[in-house]
C-alpha cells in the first residue's frame, strides 16, 4: 500500500521506531527506557520482515500443497537472531537496573543525576 | 459426511455468533462500571465468542486432522480466560476494591 510515493508498511515501522525512541529519550524511568528500547528493536524487526515479503506469498516452508511464491527466509532468520539478541540485552539491562535500585534507591534518571 | 453446504452454513453461523459474543464482551468491558462486572462480561463473552469462532473454523472445511488443533485451542481459551479473570478479581478483592453497589450510583 502506498501513499504519495511512500510505502505505508515501512512508514508504520518508522512510527513504531519513533514511539520507542520517544520513550527512550523522554521517559525518566529506566524500566520505561528499556521498554522503549524493545519497541525500537521490534520496529526494526518489522522493517526487515516487511522487506522480505512478497505479493501473495506463502511462508517459506516447502511441503506438499505449498507453491511459490514464497516469502524470503533470510529476513526471518535475521529477525530470529535479533529477537534472541534483544532478550539478552534486556536481561542484562534489567539486572543492572536492579543493581542501581539497590544502591541508590531510585531508578529515575532525574534523581540519579542529582545524586553524587 | 454431512452435506458440505450444511457444514458450511454451520461454520458461518458459529463465526458470526462468535464475533457477536466478542462484540458483547467488548461493550461490557467498555461500558460496565467496575472491575468485577467488567471481568464478568469479558471472561464469559470471550470464552464463548472465541470458542465459537474457533469451532466454526474447525467446521469450515470438513473435519480434518489439523482441526484438532483448533479444538485444543478452544479448550485452552476456555480454560485460561476464566483463570486470569479469577486471578484478577482476586487481586482486586485483596487490594481492597469494593464491588460496585447498585443503589449508590457511580463506581466506587
Amino acid at each position: 500500500m502506498t501513499l504519495v510515493g511512500l510505502d505505508l508498511d515501512y512508514v508504520a515501522c518508522v512510527v513504531l521506531f519513533c514511539v520507542g525512541l520517544y520513550m527512550l529519550v523522554a521517559k525518566s524511568n529506566l524500566i520505561k527506557k528499556v521498554i522503549g528500547l524493545n519497541v525500537m528493536e521490534t520496529a526494526v524487526f518489522a522493517f526487515i520482515v516487511t522487506s522480505g515479503m512478497i505479493e501473495g506469498g506463502q511462508e517459506p516452508i516447502v511441503v506438499a500443497g505449498s507453491a511459490p511464491p514464497y516469502t524470503s527466509p533470510i529476513p526471518h532468520a535475521m529477525v530470529l537472531t535479533g529477537i534472541v539478541v534483544a532478550v539478552s540485552v534486556t536481561a542484562v539491562a534489567l539486572a543492572l537496573i536492579a543493581q542501581i535500585h539497590a544502591h541508590y534507591g531510585t531508578i529515575e534518571v532525574d534523581e540519579l543525576k542529582e545524586l553524587p | 459426511m454431512i452435506g458440505g453446504a450444511l457444514l458450511e452454513s454451520a461454520a458461518v453461523a458459529l463465526v458470526v455468533i462468535g464475533v457477536a459474543f466478542l462484540l458483547a464482551g467488548t461493550i461490557g468491558l467498555v461500558r460496565f462500571p467496575d472491575v468485577y462486572t467488567r471481568a464478568h462480561a469479558a471472561s464469559k463473552c470471550d470464552s464463548a465468542g472465541a470458542g465459537s469462532v474457533l469451532l466454526g473454523l474447525a467446521l469450515h472445511d470438513g473435519f480434518a486432522f489439523g482441526d484438532l488443533k483448533l479444538v485444543l485451542l478452544a479448550i485452552l481459551v476456555v480454560v485460561s480466560g476464566p483463570t486470569t479473570a479469577h486471578a484478577l478479581a482476586r487481586a482486586a478483592m485483596r487490594s481492597g476494591r469494593r464491588p460496585w453497589p447498585r443503589d449508590e450510583g457511580g463506581p466506587a
Binding site: 516452508i61 | 464482551g25 461493550i27 468491558l29 472491575v35 470471550d46 469462532v53 481459551v77 480466560g81
Partner: protein, 92 residues
Amino acid sequence: MITLFWAAAIALVTFAFACLWRADVGPTIQDRILAVNVVGVKTLVVLALLAAIRGPSYLLDVAIVYGLLNFVIPIAATRLIETGRLGREAPR
C-alpha cells in the same frame, strides 16, 4: 468464506481498539490487565482466522503457543500487585 474470515478479523481488530481504550484509561490496574487480556484473546482468534485464510494448519501453532502461555503475564502481574513481589519462597 474467506471474505467472511477477513471481515471477522477486521471486526475483531476494530473491537480491540475499544478494549485498548479501556486498557489506557484504567482506572485500576486490574482493569488494565483485564482489558489487555481481552485484546489478547481477540488477537488469538484473529491469529486462528489468519491461519485459516492462509491455509496450512501449522500456522495454528502460533495461536497455540500464545494460548498455552496466555496466563503467564496476568498471573505474574496480579501476584506482583497482591504481594509486591513475584513467585513464592520455600517455607523458611
